[in-house]
Amino acid sequence: MVVQKAKRTAPARPARWSRYSGRTFYLFVSPWVLGFLLLTAVPLGYAFAISLTNFDGSSSLWRWVGLSNYRELMRDSDAWASLARTLAYTALVVPLSVAISLGLAVLLNRRLRAVGLFRTIFFLPSVVPIVATAIMWKLVFNRDSGLLNAILERLGLGAVTWLVDPTAFYALIILTLWGLGTGMVIMLAALQGVPIELEEAAVVDGAGRWRVFRHVTLPMISPVLFFQVVTGVIMSFQVLVQPLLLAETNSIGAVTNVPPSTHLYMVQVYQEYFANQRFGYGSAMLWVFFVIILVSTLLVQRSSRFWVYYEVDRDQND
């Protein structure tokens, strides 16, 4: 009888896995999968479907237009110009934000008196809502009564109209960099995770501060730098609120007053959706942008093999 029972039993699985059936596994991951499908895949699919129409966002007066929105986009010089500005913005903001947040983290990683206070002060701007931050900077940048021009005046320099072109672009970059406290905290955590014995070994071998930083610290925190670059690129591509908030008007129709230099791709998309009532075309713009972001992220990902150091072999099967 014992022999018969043994014959009917399926080959035994390793004991620790047998407790987890496939059903249990998928039950646990299903909230995320459902969330991804409903909050990411569905909007993507919906936007793609809309991109094949001339839907105006409110009425039932629409029809399928095939790929004509995409064809029009290929010829739309305004859209490509806004994309070029977005690339320029990203090319400036990402390195600057990574470098400055790393610099601040290095400073705040030292054993200084009241370092906790400094960490709080540097982090504080990133917890202030972006609307409040933008209003503050608009007042600072104001030509006639702003703090910045008051300082310039004290230095004997002329007043600058900051919030119009061409300086509006730099005002936008300053506003963006103002909130890099989160990146600083992540960098700080990474720096504190660097084994002290590695740095000490380098010092014993005769390395100076800079060489220790360059050849020990940076490689050790390079996965975090990589994370910052990837998320920075994606977020910079998608910037919308900041240019609208800096625009020379109140909230009503802000998009109509965004200066050309800060008229980034997402502002152009917003304009197509809400000023021009072209939800179909705007959706086509978003889909093309999605592909561009995907490709850019893949390129950054590919480049990581040349500059990101992992302590473990990522290809090794565990």
Binding site: R23, G45, N54, S60, E153, E248
Partner: protein, 455 residues
């Protein structure tokens, strides 16, 4: 379980199939809802009360107004949503629009032609509070007969309005600059206005200490441009509202005036914007001599300091040509979406808000002109500036004309396009002629797209 076997493990393929089907359904459902937004709408409450979803500005339809309306109409409860264009779009697209929506008379042709608004004629015919014979001409901007504004049924009612090209000025700043006061009855020309603005402006260390003039540049240039063109006897659209031409001599002259104003530095413009995007705070601070705003502007001064009340005056809309015009640029009011499920209740709110105590309250405060003839005598005339403004506004009624409005473009389209090219011309990157051609081309492209969509 027979034979003691465990259930077949859920395969990855099977696991993903279900949610994928769910996702596909979820994609299709809103799209189909967008095709024919016939379902939805604000539902009545289970208590027997009708819940009226209202999208309005809470500083205009106040808590007190809502409480009083609900007291007078115990079968209706109001759910107020703060005015939000993006949210309105989403609600309209999903087929669950609000029952009562804030909107402007000028520019309403776009919504009306797209079938988004309810024809109010049957309500107006039966109403004792709102009668067609009592509606001032500004309400004609809500009318749409399928081809043009000003004819056909009403699709909305204006709350208050102004002749928005009129001027408010600070006599103290005129006196300081040794410039004669503007007449409260005879209009200046735009050329004279530019000249006066230059004399009134005061610059110090490269900054504007006093602006000579404000035209609410950051609110959009279409109003001033259209007004100037109409004053010269020109037109903005062709007969069927499908094309524009801003390269006409009249339109180019108006564009040139805007560019000259920006370049003069005498007014806030895209070259030198105001931090809060509006003229009011600068004017009230005594840093702007003239502000081109309608009668409503006077409502801001009813509780201002006595010296400011004593020094401000209203002047007629300037002219650019032989024809005197004094149009309304907006005429804020309300409309009832065609898909509203509670139109009768929404109409009761319309009657209360447009002809009831809130309308009387607005009229007596001087916060804009009432849209009903019967309320005009209630405008304030206690203070000297109010008396003068009353006379000026009454005289301007004779010159009220409808603003050009095509259903195939939005006001936002004009504002965006004009901002872009007037700014370039003001920076001398393009000429006024090129700007005129670019504006014409861009707006005509949008008109064509709108015509294709609406039919």
């Amino acid at each position: 379980m027979p034979d003691g076997r465990a259930p077949a493990p859920l395969s990855r393929r099977r696991f993903l199939t279900g949610p994928a089907l769910l996702a596909a359904g979820a994609v299709a459902a809103p799209l189909l809802a967008g095709c024919d937004a016939s379902s939805g709408g604000s539902a009545g409450g289970s208590s027997g009360k009708t819940t009226l979803t209202v999208m309005y500005a809470s500083n205009e339809l106040t808590k007190e107004h809502i409480a009083e309306f609900e007291r007078l109409n115990p079968d209706i409860a109001i759910k107020l949503i703060e005015n939000d264009d993006a949210r309105l779009n989403a609600m309209l697209a999903s087929g669950t629009p609000p029952d009562f929506v804030r909107g402007a008379a000028v520019g309403s042709a776009n919504n009306n032609a797209r079938g988004l608004a309810t024809n109010l004629d049957s309500y107006l015919d039966k109403s004792s509070a709102l009668k067609k014979s009592d509606l001032l001409a500004v309400n004609d901007n809500w009318r749409w007969d399928g081809h043009r504004i000003g004819a056909g049924p009403y699709y909305g009612i204006t709350k208050d309005w102004s002749q928005d090209a009129t001027l408010w000025y600070n006599r103290a700043l005129f006196e300081r600059a040794k410039v004669d006061d503007l007449s409260t009855t005879d209009p200046v020309t735009y050329d004279e206005l530019l000249d006066v603005a230059g004399k009134l402006a005061v610059r110090k260390d490269g900054k504007a200490a006093v602006y000579g003039l404000g035209v609410e540049w950051q609110w959009g240039l279409s109003g001033p441009l259209f007004s100037m063109v109409l004053s010269q006897g020109g037109s903005i659209y062709n007969d069927d509202l499908t094309q524009t031409d801003v390269t006409t001599p009249e339109a180019k002259r108006a564009l040139r005036w805007l560019v000259d104003l920006a370049q003069s530095g005498a007014a806030p413009s895209s070259l030198n914007p105001l931090p809060d995007g509006a003229d009011l705070s600068t004017f009230m601070a005594g840093r702007m001599a003239i502000s081109q705003d309608g009668y409503w502007y006077g409502g801001n001064f009813s509780k201002a300091a006595a010296d400011l009340q004593a020094t401000i005056r209203m002047a007629p809309a300037p002219v650019m040509g032989a024809k005197r015009v004094s149009p309304c640029y907006a005429g804020q009011g309300a409309w009832i979406p065609a898909k509203s499920k509670n139109k009768d209740a929404a109409w009761r709110l319309m009657e209360y808000f447009m002809a009831g105590p809130p309308a009387v309250e607005r009229a007596t405060s001087g916060w804009g002109l009432p849209a009903l003839k019967s309320l005009l005598p209630k405008l304030p005339q206690d203070l000297p500036y109010q008396k003068d403004a009353y006379k000026t506004a009454q005289a301007e009624l004779a010159y009220n004309v409808a603003m050009p409005d095509s259903p195939y473009v939005t006001s936002g389209n004009w504002v965006t396009t004009l901002n872009q090219y007037v700014d370039l011309a003001a920076r001398k990157k393009i000429t006024v002629d090129v700007a005129a051609q670019k504006v014409t081309d861009d707006i005509n492209k949008l008109l064509k797209q709108g015509k294709d969509r609406i039919g």
